[in-house]
């Protein structure tokens, strides 16, 4: 007996969710991002109880909840904690052309590492423990993208 489903071509509806967002950086984030924009300088905040310097800065320590009121100047150089070289990426997401890298880098003076892009490296030129330095964008707007990427420090083994 024939079923009404036989020979059906299923209809598919294409859609896109278009909800605009405007995320607030908050007071702590604003100070951090302004420092990137205006001074090309990275800042961390210090938990007085745990003695951890957080970078990305936190308003309150995630562990003990104390206020991290002390701002700490960090270098723009640091150590690569881990990395990946991206060879295939969704074009809508990619800030750089493949191949590019992501890394977790620990800036000098910070206890924690943070995530950013890696570029200007040779094949095989990235390794955990390598020294890396920030390259700032020419046009800076007060965003994490004011840092264009990190690259290996030349001449350092």
């Amino acid at each position: 007996m024939e079923d009404w489903r036989d020979g059906q071509e299923i209809l598919v509806m294409d859609g896109r969710i278009k909800v605009p967002y405007n995320w607030s950086a908050g007071e702590t984030g604003t100070r951090y991002l302004e420092s990137l924009r205006d001074d090309k300088r990275f800042l961390g905040t210090r938990c007085p109880a745990c003695e951890i310097v957080y970078h990305i800065p936190r308003m309150h320590c995630p562990d003990c909840f104390e206020e991290c009121a002390e701002w700490v100047d960090l270098g723009s150089e640091g150590t690569l904690v881990t990395y990946t070289i991206v060879r295939r990426h969704h074009p809508q997401l990619s800030p750089l052309e493949t191949p590019f890298g992501y890394g977790v880098m620990k800036l000098d003076g910070a206890t924690t590492g943070f995530l950013h892009l890696l570029s200007e490296f040779d094949d095989g030129g990235l390794a955990s423990g390598a020294r890396v330095e920030a390259v700032f964008a020419e046009e800076r707007t007060g965003s994490i993208m004011d840092v264009a990427y990190f690259r290996p420090v030349k001449g350092v083994v």
Binding site: G15, I17, W23, H60, P62
Partner: protein, 398 residues
């Protein structure tokens, strides 16, 4: 059958509810409420056993809120799960945290509800709640759906727009006693009536605002409540129904479910009241914190919650029974008509009800309040309901 551990609310924290909190990120907003709750209960983060968190995802555009917000929620190195059901999220989170403790698995569980409505286009986000094929192309957001309900109610009972407008007046006037509330004013019915129509018969003044806010509530087991400085607000019962999947379902199915007003609310109420022993809501409840998404709800839901007979909403409200000083004040906090940070809203009803029966509600205290009803509303006409009491219940069913 296993009996549930009895559970009490021992701490409450909330941020001030504002239209825009640009000074903080969502994580920092959450942390503000959490630190307030921990301070209120005099407990350190390390002694929390588990966390339940919720918001309405598309309002902030954050996926996996539970893992994202760890720095603020206190969930570092702790068990956390996310619960979300749209408008009912806050009450769902409260019930979720309640069950975490009632199960015996945890003794001290923090419920967190939050929303930063300022960070998105609210209607744009709400539309994504509805089925992409059947409802979304024609559906204009939350207001139109509620307008259908209001029209039906007015047709069947003869209630007027002015009757509904009084709810907005009452709740925002109550909010004058609540320093945390968003919209606080002593307005008149004429003022509401003069606001522009959004979708007839709903006017701007009939609707809840968009708010940024967070709330955290600490639930403790009966074995742990004595660790805390505040008397517990005991959970006497919880019930919910999330009956529908499509926006037209409640209307078509009215015949199927015996022509009730609001089947989800009436069925949840029936179960809850039977479990807790409520036979006369108006007499037995000392206070009610009800999730009223818009003014007309303040008439209709009183009927579905058993405070009066069908069609009796306007008369009940006009009698003064639901004002401060009345037989059962509704929304001494100002309710949702005053503040609506969606993920927090349902949880705030529970928090406010808890403060009432603990005698800690300050200027908005209903004197001698011992039994309170708290509700959540959302989604496709869904209803969450909780009863909190000053006295420890003998046994909690379900």
């Amino acid at each position: 059958m296993m009996a549930a551990t009895r559970v009490g609310i021992v701490g409450v924290g909330m941020t001030v509810q504002r239209s825009t909190r640009r000074d903080v990120t969502g994580i920092e907003l959450i942390n503000e409420a959490v630190r307030a709750a921990l301070a209120d209960a005099d407990i350190k983060r390390k002694d929390i056993d588990a966390i339940v968190i919720g918001n309405m995802d598309h309002f902030e555009g954050i996926n996996y809120v539970d893992t994202w917000s760890v720095d603020g929620s206190g969930a570092l190195g702790k068990p956390i799960m996310k619960m979300t059901t749209g408008g009912t999220t806050g009450s769902t989170v409260a019930m979720g945290a309640y069950y975490h403790v009632a199960s015996g698995m945890f003794d001290r569980v923090l419920a967190i509800g939050w929303e930063k409505n300022s960070e998105s286009d609210t209607t744009g986000a709400i539309i994504t709640a509805f089925d992409p094929f059947w409802d979304r192309p024609t559906f204009a957001g939350a207001v139109a759906g509620l307008a259908l309900e209001a029209t039906l109610y007015m047709n069947e009972t003869g209630a007027t727009e002015e009757d509904a407008a009084y709810i907005a007046v009452r709740d925002r006037r109550h909010a004058l006693n609540n320093p945390y509330a968003h919209l606080r004013m002593d307005a008149k019915v004429e003022d509401i009536m003069a606001t522009p129509y959004l979708s007839w018969p709903i006017k701007l003044g009939d609707m809840c605002p968009r708010t940024d806010g967070a709330c955290a509530v600490l639930f403790a087991s009966e074995g742990a409540v004595d660790e805390f400085p505040n008397p517990p607000a005991w959970v006497h019962g919880v019930a919910d129904r999330h009956l529908w999947a499509y926006t037209s379902d409640p209307y078509v199915n009215q015949k199927v479910v015996g022509g009730t007003w609001f089947p989800a609310m009436e069925r949840a109420t029936e179960e809850l009241y039977e479990n807790v022993g409520i036979t006369d809501a108006l007499k037995q409840f000392d206070v009610a914190e009800l999730y009223l998404p818009y003014s007309f709800a303040g008439l209709r839901y009183m009927e579905s919650l058993g405070f009066c007979e069908r069609g009796g909403g306007p008369a009940l409200v006009h009698s003064g029974a639901t004002d401060m000083g009345g037989e059962c004040p509704v929304n001494p906090s100002g309710g949702v008509m005053s503040s609506n940070a969606i993920g927090a809203t349902g949880l705030l009803r529970v928090a406010e009800a808890a403060l009432q029966v603990q005698g800690r509600a300050g200027d908005r205290q209903v004197p001698g309040a011992a039994l309170a009803l708290a509700t959540g509303f959302g989604g496709c006409y869904w209803s969450d309901e909780l009863v909190l009491g000053k006295e420890k219940p003998d046994k909690v069913r379900g």
